[in-house]
């Protein structure tokens, strides 16, 4: 599989803020690559660097095996993008906007092709209306029409479901699946909501404060053998000593706070339960992390699990 995006040691410094910090990842052809992070994690900065809107401070970006800086125009011909909310010329109609951007994308479109594109995104009948009369969802659909008009190989979507209603969100999800499965496109999609991504992404990258937290397939991140258990008792110190002398010793993870961390296969949990109760250390809680959502919230709000996964 060809590397569609290859980012190496990418950093972006805005004055004294490091927005993106030494980030590396690779997107393969055909991937639906989920790019996760909370608001302000550096997702948009990364995406803008992929689209040459922002110049990196350090690092290199290759798209389709070409250096982005030296082959900008060539590369952008094969990329379609929606960055944050889709904005068009409000004083132009949907049709006029689409035609204008088609021209800019370097494709010659007949009226029929343009109308077909509008039909595909469900805007037929509204093509003559000025964009200023459109709802957020309609603008989003027009944005998609614009980003796909030149039949790009790579589609970059930055928070595509922002401001959409549940139906709109479902539509986008279906569209991404359609693009990937039926049309063989590579999709790079960012979100701060994991449940959107986990249903469609073949790979996931999670970043926080500009740094890579974890990257892998959804299956990898779900891997039952990689379940993290957070254990809290009345006497964690004593519990720790007992654990170190037990069969659980090799599951112990470095401690980040007062709670104890263990990594094990899901199936071992009942045995752990039983063992801890038997030690009579006063169990307060014993929590496994097994959904990506839970994991995502944890990794992005506190750092304790990060090391556990990135060891």
């Amino acid at each position: 599989m060809q590397d569609i995006i290859k980012v190496s040691a990418l950093s972006k410094q805005f004055r004294n803020i490091t927005a993106v910090d030494n980030l590396s990842f690779t997107v393969k052809q055909g991937d639906v690559y989920g790019f996760l992070g909370q608001n302000g994690a550096g997702k948009s900065t990364t995406i803008r660097m992929l689209l040459t809107l922002i110049t990196p401070t350090h690092g290199t970006i290759e798209l389709f095996g070409l250096d982005l800086r030296s082959h900008r125009i060539e590369i952008l011909k094969q990329v379609g993008a929606i960055i944050e909310k889709p904005d068009m010329y409000k004083y132009l109609s949907a049709y006029e906007n689409l035609k204008l951007f088609a021209k800019l994308s370097g494709v010659k479109c007949t009226d029929k092709m343009l109308m077909h594109q509008l039909e595909m995104v469900g805007l037929a009948g509204r093509e003559k209306d000025k964009v200023k009369t459109f709802s957020q969802g309609m603008k989003q659909r027009l944005g998609i029409a614009i980003s796909l008009i030149h039949d790009p190989k790579l589609i970059i979507l930055d928070e595509p479901t922002n401001g959409l209603d549940p139906q709109g969100i479902a539509d986008i999800r279906n569209l991404i699946l359609h693009l990937s499965r039926e049309m063989g496109k590579t999709v790079f999609v960012s979100s701060h909501l994991l449940n959107e991504i986990e249903q469609i992404a073949t790979r996931v990258l999670i970043i926080d404060k500009g740094k890579k937290i974890v990257e892998g397939t959804a299956e990898e991140l779900f891997d039952p053998s990689q379940t993290i258990v957070e254990l809290d008792t009345l006497n964690n110190k004593q519990c720790m000593e007992l654990l170190q002398q037990s069969q659980w010793q090799q599951c112990l993870q470095p401690q980040r706070s007062h709670t104890l961390l263990l990594k094990m296969h899901r199936d071992q949990l009942p045995a752990l339960h039983k063992w801890v109760v038997e030690q009579d250390v006063g169990v307060i809680s014993l929590q496994p992390r097994h959904t990506l959502e839970d994991f995502f919230l944890q990794v992005t709000s506190g750092k304790q699990y990060v090391e556990a996964f990135t060891d």
């Binding site: 960055i83 904005d87 132009l92 800019l104 994308s105 614009i146």
Partner: protein
């Protein structure tokens, strides 16, 4: 490039804001013409006040050429605002609308993008001036007819023969175009630094007003810096309306008193334009689009 320019022009002339300028100019010129048509004699008497004690005039002093001169004198101070309205919006307006980032993800060279945008605003400026020329000159000719042009300067009066005027207006409009192009370049340059168009429009106008005040004041300190202000040079279209005289103080037809001054000022304005546009390209290529 041609495709980009077409698109930019399409955008300019599709937006209602563009036509405000044309409406404003038509109204302003119309008002001046109406006023002069109704009460022109009183205005001429006022103009000629300093001369009429000693001299008698015979002929149509208030003719199209004078009307056009009056209009240009009054209007060219205000046209920069109308130009800034579009030029200072070229980049900042797109940033504000959010279309800038979409445009720049298209396979388009940033240098060509900036040049196309600047060219498009220049064409707008040009059309605006042609509009002024048509209304202020052609329509005045229809309303007032032509005769010699008498212009009062601070220390002398110039009379230009009727058949010697028209080409001077072509020159003057050409020069005015350079002046206004400088304003276009300034507004355009400033539009790089903002994400709404109000800031650059107000800043462009403030700079022009501030420099114009410096250019006008006869205070020695200011006079030293006046040659370096582009506003000082912007008004030199008037030099087309000054003539050389022979040893008998008779005007040499078709002459310009100080052609070097026009050339120098034009060069300074061209330098400003080239400088501002180059700076715009240089900065834009390195600028991060965060809007």
């Amino acid at each position: 490039m041609w495709k980009l320019l077409q698109i930019e022009l399409y955008k300019i002339f599709k937006r209602p804001r563009t036509y405000i300028s044309f409406a404003a100019i038509t109204a302003l010129i119309g008002v001046i013409q109406l006023g002069l048509k109704m009460d022109g004699q009183a205005y001429v008497d006022f103009l000629m006040n300093s001369l009429k004690d000693n001299f008698e005039f015979d002929g149509q002093i208030l003719n199209a050429y004078l009307v056009c001169y009056i209009i240009l004198q009054l209007l060219l101070i205000h046209v920069p605002l109308l130009i800034a309205l579009i030029a200072a919006d070229m980049i900042s307006g797109e940033a504000n609308m959010g279309t800038l980032r979409l445009l720049l993800t298209k396979p388009v060279s940033k240098t060509q993008f900036i040049l196309a945008k600047f060219l498009a605003s220049s064409i707008y400026t040009f059309i605006l001036l042609v509009w002024i020329a048509v209304f202020a000159l052609a329509f005045s000719i229809y309303l007032f007819g032509t005769d010699d042009l008498i212009i009062q300067k601070t220390s002398y009066v110039v009379q230009i023969a009727e058949n010697d005027v028209f080409w001077r207006y072509i020159g003057a409009f050409g020069f005015a175009f350079l002046s206004m192009l400088t304003v276009t370049a300034l507004g355009f340059f400033l539009s790089l630094f903002a994400e709404n168009s109000i800031g650059p429009i107000v800043t462009s106008m403030s700079i022009i007003i501030f420099f114009t005040i410096l250019s006008t004041m006869t205070i020695p300190l200011f006079q030293k810096i006046q040659p370096y202000l582009f506003t000082t040079h912007m008004v030199n279209w008037k030099e087309f309306f000054d003539e050389k005289v022979d040893s008998q103080n008779v005007v040499i037809p078709g002459s310009i008193q100080n052609p070097q001054k026009i050339i120098d000022s034009a060069l300074i304005l061209v330098l400003h334009i080239v400088g501002l546009v180059s700076a715009s390209i240089f900065i834009f290529k390195r600028k991060d689009v965060l809007s």
